[in-house]
């Protein structure tokens, strides 16, 4: 094994005062023997060196005499990362090693946020190692002559693959890899993933449907860290709110945690929550000013960079952050992590805990801060899960998203064009599209060439044209528009926030800025700002002296409890009922559970509780299956639909992770519905589809699909007006497709996505089967119980109706302006 390359690398480690980990050496040997694979290693464990070193060993061995002289060798390694923010750290780590070894290699980034000057330079001379995101890889493939970039490419590393896996950006990566594999048949492909429930599948997705298993290896890094999880408990649980998601009530108890630790990361679930926590921490303890900072994905990279740097240098006592700091290099000074509100899953909780305690032999410490009383049950469940190593959640890959494929075809169409027959085989070699059949393929080709319909005399559809068997896009405007939109996988229109003198702070959703008047103040980047004016896509602000300011709320998907967490939660409820628990969290919440038991009943593990209440608003039904928001979304639509078949009725539906509510202005015939097998899983798909037609779920899902497939175009930055006549909402698209082209595959995709990713059909069916074997308890309650209250106050609601529009309108009231 002691080749020249090995010796050089081992020597480098010795010089750093390090010894390579066993798993690092394993990866080197597997890589050098020509294998592909997946490295399962947590952040901050030296995983970067595990895959950078074998590339260098190989290079040194191939050029033992000349490796210090050979420059401009073309692109050897492509390093794909999900987050732009990570690219720079990786770049520095890789560059350092080649510099030390006196290998004249270039390492560079090509992500959306580097200057166009630098991009131009890349075009002229590719570095030997390039760090990029899935979108940027596709942008490269949208350039004429792109195969030239990759003619020397030897290997690809997909970093943080678990992050990409369950998303359409993962599918983008798969497609990009299928192209690269074709250009470079002996390409080495490696993924790096944190621990998830489906590592083997993660590898299969990465390597593609055409890869052989013999030539692939999963290597696990055995670097376990000790973990300590604690809950921050309210002193007086009876005064602790039943609902809410801010958690600032317990903020005084977080102050000593910050005090005692060298550096603390405070994770919030949303950006607005992080802004509020930052602000409240300063109010509670003004002397913290200058030693605490804020970090989230909408802040400018300069601000984020500064925060990260200061964390490294140990200058910050605490950083309030969001998932923006979930990944990336470790911050050695961080000793403690605080998680505010439910992390919704065990894996995320562990990942965040792991961001603390980096000294050898030290322990990761995480404090959980519940934001409402019921989250204490979750706290107990999380602690059990974290310490007993309960099976971690899987990340399920996205299957056959037509929108991503359409985007990809246009991408190839605007660069060098493609031959359909040839490309079909390549696309089918990916995991995501292995079941793509000829019929679907020809529909997609029709969609991009003729607009999905037979040509008629009045039709001037133009996008992809057939030039002697090569499918190409030639229209300059379409090319320009497509290049702009490759990076926009599901994001709202963002406005830049800038100081009058030009300092850039970050970006906020346009609709929030639109809700403000000039002179209004709002919190952003941890400071209160006054809106001075807006011009094109920029909001100009100045510092304001008031602390009374609006906090922007960013739209973002609400996360759902994982199935592992929900099972644990039900079990914790059971322990609480039995009184067999030692959990301090459950003991703390007992007075509230007593109220629930007194006013209604406590749902046991093998029981479904339904509560029936009447209020000024109408007739309420609350169901508590404890299955997580997504399953409740599907189950509530299903249950509402089935009841609506018994009598014409209209529902407003709300849900959280514990249960869901049906609200109607009429009495709901629940007893009759229960007698009619309300929770049967027979006809599940038909009933769900019928219910989807009556709700907005599929329509909302269609929004993202429209964006990726290029139907919605957000406009060029700073010149929105030029494309004004091409603006339309996804809702309108949905309606016209629904009316004129119901078998449109993109429409079908919207329904499929709702069914498999949002409602999670598999989990829903399991949950229904479970309920069928359970006892169902129907309780009439006098008022909203502790379990009902948080659901009832939720404003985000679905609707479902079996009444005629006219009947409904008759009972409604026009919203009139206050009479002037």
């Amino acid at each position: 094994m002691s080749s020249k390359g090995h010796q050089k690398i081992e020597h480098w480690f010795t010089e750093q005062g390090w010894e390579p980990f066993d798993y690092q050496r394993q990866v080197w040997e597997a890589y050098l023997s020509g294998k592909n694979g997946l490295l399962n290693a947590p952040t901050g464990s030296g995983k970067t060196y595990a895959l950078w070193m074998p590339v260098l060993i190989n290079w040194i061995n191939e050029h033992p005499e000349t490796y210090k002289e050979l420059a401009d060798n073309g692109l050897q390694l492509l390093w794909i990362t999900p987050l732009r923010a990570l690219a720079r750290d990786i770049e520095q780590a890789l560059q350092q090693v080649v510099d030390d070894l006196e290998i004249p290699w270039q390492v560079a980034r090509r992500t959306g946020d580097i200057s166009s000057h630098k991009k131009q330079k890349l075009k002229e001379q590719m570095p030997e190692a390039l760090i990029t995101t899935p979108e940027s890889l596709h942008i490269m493939m949208a350039q004429e002559g792109y195969p030239g970039y990759f003619e020397n490419l030897d290997s690809v590393v997909a970093d943080e693959w678990h992050e990409l896996l369950g998303s359409k950006r993962g599918t983008q990566t798969e497609l990009g890899l299928s192209r690269l594999k074709h250009l470079r048949p002996h390409l080495n492909i490696w993924g790096i993933s944190a621990t998830i429930g489906n590592l083997q599948e993660a590898q299969d997705v990465l390597l593609g449907a055409d890869a052989s298993n013999e030539n692939a290896e999963i290597i696990k890094a055995d670097v376990e860290k000790k973990l300590e999880a604690r809950s921050v408990l309210p002193d007086d649980v009876e005064k602790f709110p039943w609902s809410g998601h801010l958690g600032t009530k317990l903020l005084p108890k977080v102050l000593p945690i910050i005090e005692e630790s060298r550096s603390t990361l405070i994770f919030c679930n949303t950006r607005s929550q992080s802004e509020i926590w930052f602000q409240r921490l300063l109010e509670a303890k003004p002397e913290l000013a200058g030693t605490i900072a804020l970090h989230h994905g909408s802040l400018s990279k300069e601000i984020r960079r500064w925060v990260e740097q200061s964390l490294h240098e140990g200058k910050l006592k605490a950083v309030v952050c969001t998932s923006s700091l979930d990944l990336g290099v470790d911050f050695a000074p961080v000793e403690t992590v605080v998680q505010v509100g439910s992390p919704k899953g065990v894996a995320r909780f562990l990942q965040r805990a792991g961001r603390s305690g980096h000294q050898p032999g030290s322990t990761s410490t995480i404090h959980f801060v519940p934001t409402n009383a019921l989250e204490l049950i979750e706290a107990a469940a999380l602690k059990t899960a974290a310490t007993q190593k309960i099976a971690l959640e899987s990340r399920d890959p996205i299957l056959k998203p037509y929108d991503v494929l359409i985007q990809y075809l246009i991408t190839l169409g605007i660069s060098d064009g493609f031959e359909p027959e040839h490309l079909y085989k390549e696309i089918k070699s990916t995991f995501a599209y292995q079941t793509l059949n000829e019929k679907e393929w020809s529909w997609i080709l029709d969609f991009i060439t003729t607009g999905g319909q037979s040509l008629s005399s009045y039709d001037e559809y133009s996008k992809v044209i057939d030039e002697d068997g090569i499918y190409k896009v030639v229209d300059k405007k379409i090319i320009r528009r497509h290049r702009m939109s490759i990076g926009t996988i599901a994001s709202d229109t963002m406005m830049r926030v800038k100081y009058l003198n030009g300092g850039y702070l970050g970006s906020i959703e346009e609709w929030f800025i639109a809700s403000l008047n000039t002179g209004d103040t709002f919190w952003f980047a941890g400071r209160s700002l006054e809106l001075v004016r807006t011009k094109e896509m920029t909001a100009y602000v100045r510092r304001a002296n008031t602390s009374k300011a609006k906090v922007p709320s960013w739209m973002g998907g609400r996360m759902s409890l994982s199935s592992n967490m929900s099972a644990l939660l039900r079990h914790k409820m059971h322990e609480a009922i039995e009184g067999s628990t030692d959990d301090i969290e459950l003991k703390t919440i007992q007075p509230i559970l007593d109220v629930q038991a007194d006013w209604s009943t406590l749902p046991d593990e093998d029981e479904l509780v339904i509560e029936k209440t009447i209020s000024d608003e109408g007739h309420h039904l609350f169901f508590y299956p404890f299955e997580g928001r997504y399953v409740h979304e599907g189950m509530s639509a299903l249950v509402a639909y089935r009841i609506s078949q018994l009598t014409p009725i209209t529902f407003s539906i709300a849900m959280n992770d514990y249960g869901f509510e049906l609200l109607s202005d009429k009495e709901i015939p629940i007893e009759e519905a229960l007698e009619n097998d309300l929770f049967s899983d027979a006809n599940l798909i038909e009933d769900i589809f019928s219910s989807l037609n009556d709700t907005e779920l599929a329509k909302r899902r269609f929004r993202g699909i429209c964006q990726i497939a290029g139907l919605i175009f957000q406009g060029f930055p700073g010149q929105k007006k030029a494309s004004r006549h091409l603006q339309s909402s996804s809702g309108l698209f949905f309606d016209v497709f629904d009316q004129y082209e119901p078998d449109n595959l993109l429409l079908q995709q919207a329904y499929d996505e709702v069914l498999s990713y949002q409602l999670d059909e598999v989990r829903l069916r399991k949950a229904l089967r479970r309920i069928q074997s359970q006892q169902i308890t129907l309780k009439q309650t006098e008022r909203f119980t502790p379990f009902a209250f948080p659901i009832m106050v939720d404003r985000l609601r679905e609707r479902l109706s079996s009444e005629s529009l006219v009947d409904r309108v008759q009972r409604m009231q026009l919203q009139l302006e206050e009479h002037v």
Binding site: F447, I448, G451, G452, Q453, S456, S457, Y458, D459, E460, Y461, S462, K463, V473, D475, K477, I478, R481, E617, G618, H619, T650, F651, S652, L663, S664, D665, K666, G710, L711, F713, H725, L726, S728, S729, G731, L732, F733, V736, F737, Q739, Y740, E741, R797, R799, S804, L805, V806, R808, V809, Q810, R811, M812, Q813, L814, Q815, L816, E817, H819, V820
Partner: protein, 224 residues
């Protein structure tokens, strides 16, 4: 006559409000529509965005249906007849127009109407910046009218694609397109099939007629 037409008196003139989002003014044998946005699907398709092209055909079919079911002699369009730059769907409109020799067509120019004059001539369309048919002043966007208080006529307009938000018990709510009439002006819903809506907030004295599928309901009579 059109089923479910709703009678409504404006300035002592009897209007028939039609669920197809048009007004039939019987006395003048005039059909009033606003915001057709013909050519919108064509504009999208020409730019590589695959909207079903039947959208345009169905707009024209709806118009034919209304003309055949009434005694319309004059079709008045309150702006935004055509969506953008010329495309072949204009020819589709011109061809459709050929079937109606006797019909007079007038267009009050809207912000989207940017075709060359000769295109309108090909379609035998009278063009107006604003148009007076006593007792009414017809415009596209009433906010574009100069702030002259001297407007004596009741104004009829389009442009904003009005809709209203309705709310009911049990946290029910919905948004439906509508006809809107205040003391001084009226706004027609958008006729075109591939157009959105904008929610307006009427005052108590205003008259609002909601289009619920194939029926028209007076919002002033429902549950108030």
């Amino acid at each position: 006559m059109i089923p479910n037409a709703q009678a409504c008196n404006i300035q002592h003139q009897r209007f028939w409000l039609l669920p197809q989002k048009a007004i039939y003014w019987q006395k003048r044998k005039t059909l009033l529509v606003a915001d057709l946005h013909i050519g919108k699907s064509g504009h999208f398709r020409k730019n590589g965005i695959a909207v079903p092209k039947e959208v345009n055909q169905s707009n024209l079919e709806n118009l034919s249906h209304l003309i055949s079911q009434t005694e319309t002699e004059h079709l008045v369009i309150l702006g935004d007849l055509f969506h953008s730059d010329i495309n072949s769907e204009w020819q589709q409109f011109v061809d459709w127009r050929k079937d109606y020799h006797a019909l007079e067509v007038s267009l009050v120019i809207g912000n989207h109407d940017i075709l060359e004059k000769n295109n309108y001539h090909a379609g035998r369309i009278n063009l107006f910046k604003k148009m007076v048919i006593d007792p009414f002043l017809l415009v596209h966007d009433l906010n574009e009218l100069e702030e002259t208080a001297s407007v004596e006529n009741y104004i009829l307009s389009g442009h904003i694609h009005p809709a209203v938000q309705l709310r009911g018990r049990g946290r029910q709510s919905m948004k439906l397109p509508c006809f809107y009439f205040s003391q001084q002006y009226g706004i027609l819903p958008a006729f075109g099939g591939f157009t959105g809506t904008y929610v307006i907030e009427p005052n108590q004295d205003d008259r609002v007629y909601i289009i619920a599928d194939s029926e028209i309901l007076s919002a002033n009579n429902i549950n108030n």
